[in-house]
């Protein structure tokens, strides 16, 4: 295995998207997860994502070979030793992230930039467990990483300017537009989209309109590519709920109270596209089965 300058930790959906985006930029990347099996499952996920893109004529078979040849699965965190850029994309859980950064602090070069990919958590709180809080920065990529052209670069209280500059370079390497966010719960994208999704759920729960009509109205009325309920399904209803609870806890504002319908669906295990059922129904490839909503 060659020495890749970029390493991604966490081979879930976000890690896969990041690895594909790095590889698309022509760079090699190591994709690390707890076991080799999990890391390899991540590679398989990337291959499937590329296949979907080939099917839509966005990539070719030779692109696929080249993209996959630059991504190396691994279960060995010590691979981060020589990396210049480390991106963490493990589940959105403060304790998990803190313990990972504690380990990375012991492994990584002193000049390495350590990036946490989070949508709501405090960069400063994560950085506090390390001896190098200046080198820790947040980058909030949105799913699917290869398609969404914007990233929020989140400065913690102690993030130094050089680290910020390197995060900007990394964003530009991946061909993303970036915005700067000064650490505050929910940043920009999550904070604004979450109440909108929640309100759409309230409108549905209160019987004002069907799920389909709510989405149709918002798409056509405001030029959204995807309606709010379909968007929540894509994000994962459990994820949306955890963001809301996070914002509620941090900001203590009623508007972040998850809609009871959202709680009900999450409790029933209807988490959206990934479980085949949320506000709408989906087949194994994640395609909408019918425009009919499940809650009518």
């Amino acid at each position: 295995m060659p020495v890749a300058k970029i390493i991604i930790i966490g081979a879930g959906v976000m890690g896969q998207g990041l690895a594909e985006a790095v590889s698309s930029s022509g760079n090699e990347v190591i994709l690390v997860d707890k076991t080799t099996k999990l890391a390899e499952r991540g590679i398989k996920g990337i291959a499937e994502s590329i296949d979907r893109e080939i099917h839509k004529w966005g990539l070719t078979q030779s692109d696929k070979k080249a993209l996959l040849a630059r991504i190396f699965p691994s279960s060995d965190l010590s691979q981060a030793e020589d990396a210049e850029t480390v991106i963490e994309a493990i589940p959105e859980d403060l304790q998990l992230k803190r313990s990972l950064f504690e380990k990375l602090d012991a492994i990584c070069r002193p000049d390495a930039v350590l990036i946490t990919n989070t949508g709501t958590l405090s960069i400063s709180e994560i950085a506090a467990v390390t001896q190098r809080p200046g080198k820790i920065i947040g980058m909030h990529f949105l799913n699917p990483v290869t398609k969404i052209p914007v990233v929020e670069i989140v400065k913690g209280l102690k993030t130094d300017d050089e680290t910020f500059q390197k995060a900007v370079e990394f964003a530009e390497l991946l061909n993303k537009k970036w915005i700067t966010v000064i650490e505050y719960p929910g940043y920009v994208t999550t904070r604004i989209i979450v109440p909108l999704l929640n309100e759409a759920m309230h409108v549905l729960m209160e019987g004002v309109a069907t799920a389909d009509h709510i989405d149709e109205a918002m798409k056509l009325g405001f030029g959204f590519n995807v309606g709010p309920l379909a968007l929540a399904d894509m994000m994962g209803l459990d994820v949306v709920m955890s963001w809301m609870e996070n914002l509620l806890e941090e900001l203590s504002e009623h508007k972040y109270n998850p809609c009871p319908l959202l709680r009900k669906l999450v409790r029933a295990g209807h988490l959206g596209v990934k479980t085949g059922k949320g506000f709408f129904e989906y087949d194994a490839d994640g395609e909408r089965i019918s425009p009919k909503s499940t809650t009518e």
């Binding site: 893109e53 839509k56 004529w57 966005g58 030779s62 398609k147």
Partner: protein, 402 residues
């Protein structure tokens, strides 16, 4: 002057070290499969057998480093030290409206080139990568960019303007630019020498048929029209590119298949052409084989390819008001007798008469393949873009020296 000529593709670097004093390529070669497992460097010194080395070549910088080490290596090298390389000439696909000639590369030019990426998404990024790689590997050595587009600056406005609001031309430079300039220029000059007439007296059509393909109409040695346009996508049907298309088609497909701009772009550039129609391959040799074996889609792809080319020849003969010389060049043009025959069929009224035997027997050599009675000389001329790049590079570098 010893000049390293570089042509960078997405996963390949083609190179030649040319001594312009005697116009000999001291060595030529190619690095392929860059960034993939088992990259291959093929190197051929002019006076020794070819060598092949495989290894891991991750990017263009490593590739150029390999090339330079090969050029100075004890067993396979052709020079003693890298300092013998006096200049580097790069093929750059799109020079936009600004560059009517080759230019010396500096910081300002690199910025201009990056601005032009949108116009040639398949090529310019790789050309830039190659320039960056050479700046790292051969610091301080003058580098020159030679553009595919420069030749066609002589096109009259009525040939380059599109039938859309003129303000879009002023705002974004949307017009036809044309490509393959080095190849069309080289073969037109060779062809004039072959027929033994001054180029200024000839009406000529040159067909560059490679992976990309284009036709150029020369009036007295000056390009007056060419089939590629704003990008290398317009014109002939190509290996994986659609060529001419009703623009409404792509709007319709984008709407119905919910394609992004990127997906639509890749659809037209990489999934279309011979590969798209045949569903088999983008390679003309394989298309011809498949067609002969009865594959109807391959046959259709081949017919479409030649029919489109025939129409362009007819159109340009009309634009020129006559025709003296028709030239076939590049991979397909030099080697596919089938394509040449199918294209020239029914063009007897223009004065084109192909000598069947000569056509069949000609592959990759300068040959007149028309009958002795043919009013139009039909020539096969192997192209040599590298030599054009080396000559231009020398001219530009020498002009810089006090």
């Amino acid at each position: 002057m010893k000049i390293l000529v570089i042509n960078c593709g997405s996963s390949s670097v083609k190179y030649q070290l040319i001594d312009t004093d005697n116009e000999i390529a001291l060595a030529k070669g190619m690095v392929s499969r860059i960034g993939m497992s088992a990259s291959v460097l093929t190197h051929k010194p002019h006076d020794r057998p070819e060598v092949k080395v495989s290894g891991e070549i991750l990017d263009h910088i490593v590739a150029i480093e390999y090339v330079v080490s090969m050029l100075i290596s004890e067993n396979h090298g052709v020079i003693k030290d890298r300092s013998e390389i006096q200049a580097v000439g790069h093929r750059v696909v799109h020079g936009g409206e600004k560059f009517a000639d080759s230019v010396l590369i500096d910081v300002e030019l690199m910025r201009e080139l990056r601005n032009l990426i949108e116009l040639a998404p398949l090529h310019n990024p790789h050309n830039i990568r190659g320039i960056n790689a050479c700046q790292k590997t051969l610091p301080g050595i003058p580098q020159v960019a030679v553009f595919d587009t420069a030749l066609h600056h002589s096109m009259p406005p009525y040939a380059y303007i599109y039938g859309i609001p003129y303000v879009l031309y002023k705002r974004y430079g949307i017009r036809r630019y044309g490509f393959h300039g080095m190849s069309h220029r080289y073969v037109s000059q060779q062809a004039a020498a072959m027929v033994g007439k001054p180029i200024t007296e000839l009406k000529m059509i040159t067909c560059h048929l490679g992976n990309g393909a284009s036709v150029t109409a020369f009036d007295g040695g000056v390009s007056v029209d060419t089939s590629m346009g704003f990008t290398p996508l317009e014109g002939l049907l190509m290996g994986t590119r659609s060529g001419d298309l009703d623009p409404a088609v792509i709007l319709h497909v984008m709407a119905h298949e919910e394609l992004s701009l990127h997906e639509a772009n890749t659809l037209l550039n990489k999934h279309s052409g011979l590969a798209g129609i045949s569903g088999v391959t983008s390679d003309v040799r394989e298309i011809v084989e498949a067609a002969n074996e009865g594959n109807s889609n391959a046959k259709l792809a081949l017919e479409t390819y030649c029919y489109r080319l025939k129409k362009y020849i007819g159109a340009y003969a009309a634009a020129l008001g006559g025709l003296d010389v028709l030239v076939f060049t590049a991979g397909v043009g030099e080697n596919s007798a089938d394509v040449r025959r199918l294209t020239c069929e029914k063009l007897e009224f223009l004065g084109i008469a192909l000598d069947e035997t000569k056509n069949k027997e000609t592959a990759g050599t300068e040959t007149d393949i028309s009958t002795s009675g043919s009013r139009v000389r039909v020539l096969v001329v192997p192209t040599n873009e590298e030599l054009v790049i080396a000559r231009d590079t020398q001219r530009i570098v020498e002009a810089q020296q006090p």
